[in-house]
């Protein structure tokens, strides 16, 4: 009976991800190209927003992944604290810069979209503000990883920071809701609604979301592999100096 914990073995992890990484990467590129080209060139303009609506194919998936990357870091941090699998801690470390870039993409595309639609690049809207706060959390998390020399200490401290940070990020989310009324529209995608956005926009959006998810997985796999190999190389070099 194989279990998911087998992949906590770095060798097993690298072997398996090596095998599936090309597939995921190719699939990610295909999904992104299909989703974006379909979305940009083969969908009609929105009757009120005109062609600016097309930025949705970048904005929504990146915002989705910015939050999910943090969730993934939270899960892997808990796994590190409970079961102390090094791969888990390294995966959290690998996901953080990807998450920060996703947050930046979401903020930037949101600003570019907001300028023609709301007449402003930036508003202190709850959603925008909480993304900015999420961005700050990512920065602090990455800075703490970089600052500590001992790997295990760094993994311990950052995973506790991730836990505490998650609670405070959630608190901030509701605090800013209370603090200011929003300009941003409500959730445009949810699973329990009959039709979310019109099907013409919905299917290319789903494809590009899939592309972003696969891209994120591929990047995290690749970066985790790199971390494992770098650590292994350090260990080898240390052994050589000893010998």
């Amino acid at each position: 009976m194989s279990s998911i914990w087998e992949y906590a073995n770095p060798k097993k992890f690298i072997d398996t991800t090596d095998r599936i990484l090309p597939w995921i990467s190719v699939l990610a590129v295909v999904c992104l190209v299909v989703g974006l080209v379909w979305g940009f060139f083969f969908t009609p303009d929105d009757f009120r927003q005109g062609s600016t609506v097309k930025i949705i194919y970048l904005h929504v998936p990146s915002a989705l992944m910015a939050i999910n990357a943090w969730l993934m870091m939270l899960v892997t941090s808990i796994i590190w604290i409970v079961r102390r699998h090094h791969v888990s801690a390294l995966a959290a470390r690998a996901a953080a810069p990807v998450g920060v870039v996703m947050t930046l993409i979401a903020l930037a595309t949101g600003a570019i979209w907001g300028q023609p639609m709301w007449g402003t690049w930036w508003a202190w809207d709850p959603r925008l503000t909480s993304f900015l706060i999420l961005f700050l959390f990512y920065l602090g998390y990455i800075a703490l990883w970089e600052a500590i020399e001992n790997d295990d200490t760094a993994a311990d401290l950052t995973s506790i920071l991730c836990l505490v940070g998650s609670v405070f990020a959630l608190l901030s989310r509701y605090a800013v809701n209370f603090w200011n009324q929003g300009l941003h529209q409500g959730a445009s995608l949810s699973l329990d609604k009959e039709e979310n956005v019109h099907d013409v926009f919905y299917y290319p959006l789903l494809v590009s979301i899939a592309g972003f998810v696969l891209l994120f997985i591929a990047l995290v796999f690749l970066r985790t592999q790199t971390e494992i190999r770098a650590r292994r190389m350090r260990a080898l070099m240390a052994r050589e100096r000893m010998g």
Binding site: T153, I160, F168
Partner: protein, 218 residues
């Protein structure tokens, strides 16, 4: 616990001026604001509550790295770790000492500085109450941040980067309460939320701070 508390307070007051520093910083920030935004008293009155909250928050931040740094350098933190007192208690006592030497003076100084910013008369009571409720949370969150960065050579800047995002909910509800007080609105909801945040941080963060300290002392 009480011995540790009195020791920390005595050290903070006597050794090296850390005690007055936060207060002086608070004063200077508040004095600088009118130079920045202009001396019109109606404008100052509108932003006074927020400025006082941000000033108090920054003054609090300034003295955070002293919570554990000195004990770390001279080795008394190791002694505290081996003492029968649990680390959670050490963390909470440290936070209490920090609040008594930094937070409480700030709360007491805030109304005086409110006069400088021509804070409306209705705003004094909510401002003092919100600071009184909010600064313990600032101290507790800061103690956690200080525990995270205690082993680092240059932890000061990193400490601010880690702690400031954690301060956001406290600041929002605290400043909101003070602002509503100034406008003569009902400030019951932010008061309850602020009290909830403070109670929650005091209940939970000592455990996180203690866990972090144990990792750092390993």
């Amino acid at each position: 616990m009480i011995a540790l508390l009195t020791r920390d307070i005595r050290l903070a007051i006597r050794a090296g001026g850390g005690f007055g520093l936060g207060l002086a910083f608070f004063l200077i920030v508040v004095v600088l604001v009118p130079f920045g935004v202009g001396p019109q008293s109606d404008l100052l009155a509108r932003i006074a509550a927020g400025v006082l909250w941000i000033g108090a928050l920054l003054a609090c931040l300034l003295s955070l790295d002293r919570i554990f740094a000195l004990d770390w350098e001279d080795g008394s933190l190791d002694l505290l770790a081996t003492a029968p007192l649990p680390m959670e208690a050490v963390a909470i006592v440290k936070a209490l000492a920090h609040w008594l030497t930094t937070g409480l003076p700030l709360v007491l100084a805030a109304p005086v500085l409110g006069v400088l910013l021509s804070l409306p008369a209705a705003g004094y009571m909510p401002l003092i109450v919100s600071l009184l409720l909010g600064t313990p949370a600032l101290s507790m969150i800061g103690t956690f941040g200080a525990a995270l960065t205690v082993g680092l050579k240059r932890g000061g800047l990193l400490l601010s980067l880690l702690v400031l995002p954690l301060y956001v909910p406290t600041l929002i509800f605290g400043a909101e309460m003070a602002r509503r007080g100034v406008d003569g609105l009902d400030y019951g909801t932010p008061l309850l939320m602020l009290a909830g945040i403070t109670c929650g941080t005091i209940a939970l963060l000592p455990f996180a701070a203690a866990a972090v300290l144990r990792v750092n002392l390993r």
